[in-house]
């Protein structure tokens, strides 16, 4: 167990190293931060001075070594734009993103497990066929499109005028088919301050309302994938000997489906889920842009536009760390679910 964690730590360091090198290597392609900071009216002398004070006139490898030395002490340098430590900036923006990711992960989980199980148990029902068809569609729809559709439907609303408005029944039908809209689709609203340090959307109705559409659209990224995965796994498990044996022992169907089958189905789902948490963080770039959600994704896009190198690298490092941590947690959880796995430092 301890060996396993130590191995994971080494892996994490290696991953972090690669990310930082990649982050550094691309910085020349992003534009000139000095130009961004000083504006087009700056003199050559000014920009040379700033370039020197930021250490940008040294060779790249020296810049990297300098950066790596600081990074070990969790110092990623000051953001060129915010003029404060990059980690502080990220710490300010990240909670909004994490709330978004958490909300959509919960939505995904709550919807995909029952849907997947239902589709496997009643594969011939119309609902199951419809869901499987929709999930195929859902996999193919990009997140910005689903976000737009959500905004149109629930924020702007749709006024149907298909039926004659002069008659009572026409108006009634029009009304019936119209959608009111009115859901917030811009920003976080006013997050509630909890325990003095934490702004959260979870603690008030209004906050949850603001969270709903962005979280839904982000959930649509993973939901179809999970429904299909759970469906496929469940179908396979239901054909297994131990499920047949459970039936032969006269157990109740609910126990067979939700204990015997589901517990075996969850193994690959957990694995995929862990990887996908990271992917969700990546997809927040799109969701946060469409909904103007003030999270780390939006901040990162701005940082790229401003060629704010310390912020970009720090963001990449933080996201990389999140990948490593979630994957480690998943491996630990996997051991709880699957008694056949024992974690050891040796590779299997």
């Amino acid at each position: 167990m301890i060996l396993f964690l130590m191995r994971r730590l080494l892996q994490a360091v290696a991953v972090m190293f690669v990310i930082s090198v990649v982050g550094f290597a691309i910085q020349d392609g992003l534009g000139d931060p000095v130009r961004q900071m000083l504006g087009p009216t700056a003199t050559d002398a000014e920009s040379t001075g700033l370039r020197h004070s930021l250490g940008l006139d040294r060779p790249l490898w020296m810049q990297y070594l300098h950066f790596a030395g600081d990074a070990v002490e969790l110092n990623f340098g000051d953001s060129y734009f915010f003029h404060e430590p990059a980690l502080d900036v990220i710490a300010r923006y990240l909670p909004a993103t994490l709330e978004l990711v958490a909300a959509s992960a919960v939505i995904t989980l709550l919807l995909s497990v029952p849907m997947g199980i239902f589709c496997a148990i009643r594969p011939r029902s119309w609902l199951a066929r419809g869901l499987m068809g929709l999930s195929l569609l859902g996999i193919s729809v990009p997140v910005f499109l689903s976000a737009m559709v959500l905004i149109q439907l629930f924020s702007i609303g749709i006024q149907v005028t298909l039926f004659p408005t002069g008659t009572g029944w026409g108006q009634w039908l029009n009304q019936l088919l119209s959608i009111q809209g009115g859901m917030p689709a811009y920003g976080r609203g006013n997050p509630v301050h909890v325990w003095g340090v934490w702004y959260t959307n979870f603690a008030s109705w209004q906050g949850l309302l603001y969270l709903l559409l962005p979280a839904l659209s982000l959930a649509f990224v993973m939901l179809p994938l999970f429904v299909r995965l759970i469906h496929a796994e469940m179908l396979e498990v239901l054909e297994s000997d131990y499920v047949k044996y459970a039936k032969a022992r006269g157990l109740r169907p609910s126990r067979i489906y939700f204990l015997h089958a589901l517990k075996n189905t969850l193994l690959p789902v957990v694995t995929l889920g862990g990887v996908q948490i990271g992917t969700l963080v990546a997809y927040t770039l799109l969701t946060e842009t469409v909904f103007q959600w003030p999270g780390a994704g939006l901040m990162f896009l701005d940082a790229i536009e401003r060629a704010d190198m310390p912020l970009i690298v720090a963001y990449l490092m933080v996201v990389g760390l999140m990948f490593v941590v979630t994957n480690t947690l998943v491996d630990l959880l996997y051991r709880v679910l699957n008694p056949r796995i024992t974690l050891s430092g040796r590779s299997a």
């Binding site: 044996y245 204990l259 015997h260 075996n264 008694p339």
Partner: protein
Amino acid sequence: MALLEVEHLDVRFPLRHGEIRAVRDVSFALDRGERLGIVGESGAGKSVLAFSLLRLLSRPGRIARGQVRFEGQELTQLSDRQLRRIRGNRVAMIFQDPLTTLNPVLTIGQQMIESLKAHRRISSRRARSVALHKLRQVQVSSPEQRLAQYPHQLSGGLCQRVVIAIALLLDPDIIIADEPTTALDVTIQAEIIALLKQLCEKHNVGLIVISHDLGVIGRLTQRLLVMYAGRIVEQGPTREIINDAQHPYTQGLINALPQMALPRQPLAQIPGNMPSLSQVPGGCAFHPRCRYRFTPQGQPRRDCSERVPEAVVSGDSQVACHWVRELIATLPIEKETT
């Protein structure tokens, strides 16, 4: 009235192109405490027959015709809920591979206790002590520890003992065992067979054993069914059939046993293969491989390829073979005196 009566049972698997008839017109009966063997090559329909008794067929299999009566109760007509009260409770099953039979993510104890609780109103503590008692009966060492273990922590033989213990948990009337020793080492096989036999005798439990191994069946059972291409070709007392098989197929099976071979002689074989269940030849399904399909004069027997043979009944035994019928018809007196 027999404990279990199966009459004219037909099991079919409808497929896109035609259907497979895995079990054809099978009838047999099992008395209380009787041990019955079903033998045949792979694909003869033995396992399908076993699973169809408790309606545990995999999709798209279904019982197309016939009756399965347990204590006079028609199992093919019961609702799922009623059937559930019989499964595992009155009629228990033992599967082929103990390592895939037990759920890998639940402990032995969880699986034993849930079996009990599915059929009895019983406290967890009480269920635990019943489970321990049954584990001791099947001679599992340190049963307390086993309850907390997962199936993968046990050997195949030990797992099969656990499965037998689970089968005995609710004191069933019948145990259906589908190839219970096939997945085990040869040394373990003998122990498991002895254990099954002893426990069934002691508790007066009826046993239906499916096997392709005449050795297993011979030691374990009192009566024997021989299946070929979905039909019963011969049934009777086990000892009689092994000593004096009537049907040419059974004779072939027994002659193919290593124990029957003469020293330094190659093992006898039945020429050809069993037909796939989707293309069973007309008439007697065995006739293309049968050495009696010609008369002594060298003429093909037309019956063999044209008519499905009906069972010839003599005493406790039945044989479905045109050749045997002819033999009996020509030598009536001799047959009676022997």
